[in-house]
């Protein structure tokens, strides 16, 4: 449901919530506040999600992304209790007779054992009381325990072991959440948008585990502070860098190696982290005389500086690049680059703020050496964001803020690289847009058993001029041809030029978000949530998996923003004093205005995308089950997802029945069953083992239904879109982790990781293609399997 509002009501809305705030401030005067930051004793990293409570009361909360907490309680003497998975509990006696500041350092529970493991995440247990639901969290320690292909720890592959998260087959990048498309995930690295999450076509993720502090994937019940994508938010945060002492960590693997350095800076008022990775498969290939090559590298940077206890600056950056070369024909490189300057300012012990200026860019460059031309494309955005967290009272907290993202789209420019080139110069229309958002979100304890989180986001999108917009006969960029029963490109009637100061189109959407948690017993709770999300930019892809060369395009006169509504309901239970936890969630999601591509659509070098697409819708529903064992030598989980994801595209304005006859069809990433089992076992201080099992229904595909002879060749006729499936996908991985004997005073600490991917060497079909054998003329089906059994060995060290 689109509501198109002028800016005025949004301002009014703003006044309304400031007024709202005022009321609550007045009501909590008799109380005192204790606030501060929780950090790791060994390296000074702030801890996100640590639980801080006043012992013997239900007063407390968790730390925010910057480790900050604020608790307000009646005057008196208390014991401040801090707990965090993998850390020793800390108890501090405080006298709350005035507002006080209490920073706390906590130490890891088993420093001897887990030295190499970077901890720093919320307990991976169902937090019963918090209204937050549909959140997939991963401890970096857990990520490290899991066996992975080619020995490179990969947070995205680890996330895919959780319910509701899948990929689109081996050798493809990205991930899918609750039946959503890849471009419907908002992926943030230190708040900066990452447009392509994978290196080497999905073999590796862009996130270097050495530089990552924590990650959180919101599959539903998405807080109002996030907007811009309709399916999920993956919030990844980089480590700040060790502020206590200088440290070097690294790993040497078969395909790639990494190194990270961190340490204190600015006379102990700050710290830095610099981490890099590089693959060297290209060097091997070159040495072997192979003319084709593929490689990647990336660099993470972060530094912070405390001006005073109330003001802290952070600067972070990421730069990653992939390159591949195809003999002397063609070379390509692509990658993300981001930068973020942040200012944490504590206005008072109850009002925390963060101001960020964020730059993100994704670009690719194809160089066709043989044809002497270059193809460039990019998307760049600058995001200014101001967020506040106001701890009004123990029972009431408010988040509010605003942001504006200015986009520049350069969908493609072709430039001849020599005078001999047969290619003409071409520039596809550059596009400009501004996406802004304003939000307020409250977390409220209604009773000791019922907590609510409710918020509202107002997003407003402006597509600016600076380009011409093609007009079409009858306003139809796509026309249905009833005689041939096909969709054809509409007839252009002219162009309207919009100057840079003009607005081509605007959209505004109100996005309510509500979730609640009801504590049914001491061990169990029921949660429910609703969220509406709007998405203004779209990734153009008419293939079953997106490629690094797909192009983003903004909403405009022909492409409307995608709008999703998601309902979820969950049941959470802790057993045996939290040794086990069970999470069961069901969801139903609809997405309006999902673009789909007409048969034979041509997206490469296409200036008028509107002639290739129709507006459709998606729906997805499913049931997710997650049983975890959180404690003991054997830990791990069993995850099961039963789901359905479909798409439908009626003819609409173009007329006719629509794509696939206007019928619902399986989305490319629909998986009926998805089972993941992951476990790790610690035998002793030196040896530990990890294993995982994956079983998934095969990917939907379109199979041949017949053949016919035409122009001397056998051609194929195909069934309805995605009405068949590849064979089921399954595999088992295994890893052994060995930590050589270490003496306490030895600085260099290392570990060996041997991992075997696809233990029983199953040839899982990434695709099956059909064609005519050139020798015999007979049709045949050819299966492409990406990974057979892949053993690998990695050495990780810390100095």
């Amino acid at each position: 449901m689109k509501t198109r509002l002028k800016p005025t009501p949004a301002y009014k809305l703003g006044f309304l919530w400031f007024y709202f705030l005022g009321c609550f401030v007045v009501s909590s005067q008799q109380s005192r506040t204790v606030s501060g930051t929780i950090t790791d004793k060994s390296n000074g990293e702030t801890l996100f999600g640590a639980s801080v409570y006043l012992s013997g009361t239900t007063i407390g909360g968790t730390t925010n992304e910057y480790g900050f907490y604020s608790i307000t309680a009646p005057e008196g003497n208390y014991v401040l209790h801090i707990s965090y998975l993998g850390y020793h509990d800390e108890n501090i006696t405080i006298s709350l007779t005035s507002d006080i500041k209490q920073d706390v350092e906590i130490s890891e529970a088993s420093t001897l054992l887990e030295e190499v493991v970077v901890t720093g995440d919320e307990p991976e247990k169902a937090i019963l009381r918090k209204p937050e639901m549909s959140v997939a969290k991963m401890n970096m320690g857990t990520v490290r325990q899991m066996p992975v292909v080619l020995g490179e720890m990969d947070i995205l592959k680890s996330l895919q072991m959780l319910p509701g998260v899948t990929n689109n087959g081996e050798g493809t990048g990205g991930f899918h959440v609750r039946g959503g498309a890849q471009d419907q995930n908002l992926v943030l690295l230190d708040e900066a948008i990452i447009y392509n999450t994978s290196h080497m076509f999905g073999f590796f993720s862009v996130f270097n585990a050495d530089a990552i502090k924590d990650l959180k994937l919101y599959k539903g019940g998405i807080p109002a502070q996030f907007g811009g994508r309709v399916s999920s938010v993956l919030d990844v945060r980089q480590k700040d860098g060790n502020s206590k002492s200088f440290a070097l960590t690294g790993g040497i693997g078969v395909i790639s190696s990494r190194l990270a350095a961190e340490g204190p800076m600015f006379r102990d008022k700050g710290s830095f982290l610099i981490a890099g990775r590089r693959s060297y498969i290209d060097l091997f290939l070159k040495a072997a005389g192979e003319k084709n090559s593929v490689s990647f590298y990336d660099l993470n940077l972060k530094t912070n500086y405390s001006i005073n206890p109330n003001n802290k600056l952070f600067l972070s950056g990421y730069f990653g690049r992939d390159a591949f070369q195809l003999g002397s024909i063609f070379e390509s490189s692509y990658g993300n680059a981001t930068g973020n300057l942040r200012w944490n300012h504590i206005f008072s012990d109850r009002l925390f703020s963060n101001l960020s200026l964020i730059l993100s860019r994704y670009d690719y460059d194809l160089n066709f050496q043989q044809e002497d031309f270059e193809w460039l494309s990019s998307i760049t955005n600058l995001n200014l964001k101001y967020d506040f967290k106001y701890y009004v009272s123990d029972a009431f907290k408010i988040d509010f803020g605003a942001n504006g993202i200015a986009y520049n789209f350069d969908p493609g420019q072709i430039a001849p690289t020599s005078d001999d080139s047969i290619i003409n110069e071409l520039q596809l229309d550059r596009k400009r847009a501004l996406e802004s958002g304003l939000y307020v979100s409250a977390e409220q304890k209604i009773t000791s058993k019922l907590s609510l989180q409710y918020g509202l986001r107002y997003s407003y999108f402006i597509r600016f001029g600076g380009q011409a917009i093609t007009t079409y006969e009858n306003d139809q960029p796509v026309v249905y041809n009833p005689t041939l029963d096909i969709y054809e490109r509409g007839k252009p009637t002219g162009e309207t030029y919009f100057s840079k100061s003009e607005t081509i189109e605007t959209y505004g959407n109100l996005e309510p978000r509500v979730s609640l948690a009801f504590l049914a017993s001491r061990q169990s709770s029921v949660k429910a949530s609703f969220s509406r999300m709007a998405q203004y930019i779209h990734l153009l892809s008419n293939t079953s998996s997106v490629t690094p060369l797909d192009v983003w395009t903004p909403s405009g006169p022909f492409i409307k923003p995608q709008l999703s509504d998601q309902y979820s309901l969950g049941y959470f239970h802790d057993f045996n004093d939290e040794a086990y936890s069970l999470e069961v969630e069901g969801y139903f999601k609809t997405v309006d205005n999902r673009i789909d591509y007409i048969d034979g659509s041509e997206l490469i070098g296409q200036n008028t995308i509107e002639t290739e697409i129709l507006n459709g819708e998606m729906r997805a529903y499913g049931l997710e089950l997650l049983l975890r064992k959180n404690e003991g030598d054997l830990t791990g989980w069993v995850a099961y997802t039963l789901s359905k994801s479909e798409q439908r595209t009626p003819g609409g304005n173009a007329g006719g029945p629509g794509i696939n006859g206007g019928e619902w069809y399986n989305a490319f990433f629909d998986r009926t069953h998805d089972i993941s089992v992951s476990g790790s076992y610690r035998l002793n201080d030196r040896w530990s083992f990890g294993s995982s099992l994956v079983f998934q229904t095969g990917r939907p595909v379109t199979y041949p239904i017949g053949q016919y002879t035409y122009e001397g060749r056998s051609f194929t006729s195909y069934s309805d879109r995605n009405s068949d499936r590849l064979p089921a996908y399954h595999r088992i991985d295994f890893s052994v982790n060995y930590k050589p004997n270490r003496s306490e005073n030895k600085r260099l600490k290392g570990e060996w990781i041997l991992s075997i991917y696809n233990l029983y060497n199953r040839k899982n079909a990434a695709s099956i293609s059909f064609g005519q054998n050139l020798e015999t003329g007979a049709n045949e089906a050819t299966r492409t399997a990406i990974f057979g059994i892949v053993p690998s060995i990695t050495y990780n060290f810390k100095f």
């Binding site: 593929v294 024909i329 043989q370 016919y708 001397g712 059909f770």
Partner: protein, 281 residues
């Protein structure tokens, strides 16, 4: 732009660890449909009076007999300006022939087929093609810089949007290879279109060798036919994750009696250049 598209296809199969094998797959079976191969090709410098239309029926995908002739049809083509109708006579093997066709450049024609109690028809315009200036060989270009490839040199006309179909066949090979291109990025330029055969041990395919004879047909095609044949070709060999989703491709022939029972194939009228090239050392 052929090379560009090809490169993108290759790019999609780059994963180095991947392996392929031929497997048995059960596929669904769709309805049997009439297949119309009405390609009226007018070779430059000839009268173009000899024309053949082939009619057949589609078969199950893995059936060894891919050509089941459709006999007993009545086939005719009409010049829409002069209303002259050319009757194609049934040869009893799925082929229908005439030797009295009169091609006119830029002229629109209609096709009418009466088969099995149903009437099919289609409309198309005779489309011209430019001359081939030169054909030469080299090894440096192409995907394999050790393998021979043939280069076809021609001038793309300035004014209009031109579309090309190439049919390559090496003497002794079982099957021809089709490639289609347009002048989207290269309008008005001299075009060097190369054709190379990549080695494929599984299918016993070897690259060109000196002495190999290559037959080259270059056709001028209409934009709708280009859109059609481009999709047809792209669906021929590959349905990997990075290729567009395959779909039933509909040509320009309509079943007037029962639209649901649509035919496969196309009614095309093209001017054509035919050349033969013999590779040397």
């Amino acid at each position: 732009m052929k090379q560009f598209i090809n490169s993108l296809l290759i790019l999609s199969i780059i994963p180095i660890l991947s392996c392929t094998d031929v497997i048995d797959v059960e596929v669904p079976q769709g309805p049997t449909r009439l297949v119309i191969e009405a390609s009226l090709d007018w070779e430059k410098g000839t009268a173009g009076n000899e024309q053949t239309i082939r009619l057949s029926k589609s078969t199950p995908y893995f059936d060894s007999n891919a050509f089941v002739p459709a006999e007993g049809a009545q086939v005719s083509v009409t010049n829409l300006s002069s209303s002259v109708t050319y009757i194609f006579t049934d040869q009893g093997d799925g082929e229908y022939r005439t030797s009295s066709f009169e091609p006119v450049m830029g002229q629109s024609y209609s096709l009418t087929i009466q088969y099995d109690g149903e009437i099919y028809n289609a409309f198309e315009t005779m489309t011209p093609v430019t001359n081939i200036i030169d054909i030469y060989q080299s090894r440096e270009d192409g995907f394999d810089d050790e393998a021979l490839e043939a280069h076809i040199l021609f001038n793309d006309p300035d004014e209009e949007s031109n579309n090309y179909l190439f049919k390559f066949k090496r003497a002794g090979d079982l099957l021809p290879v089709l490639e289609a291109g347009d002048d989207k990025f290269i309008n008005g330029n001299q075009i060097d279109w190369w054709y190379e055969i990549m080695e494929d041990e599984d299918q016993n395919v070897v690259p060109f060798e000196p002495g190999d004879i290559l037959d080259i047909n270059m056709y001028g095609i209409s934009r709708p036919y280009y859109d059609y044949i481009k999709v047809m070709i792209s669906q021929m060999g590959n349905s990997g994750p990075f290729t567009p989703v395959p779909a039933a491709v509909k040509g320009n022939c309509i079943n007037r009696t029962n639209p649901e029972n649509f035919p496969y194939g196309y009614f095309r009228l093209s001017e054509m250049v035919k050349e033969r090239y013999i590779f040397t050392e």
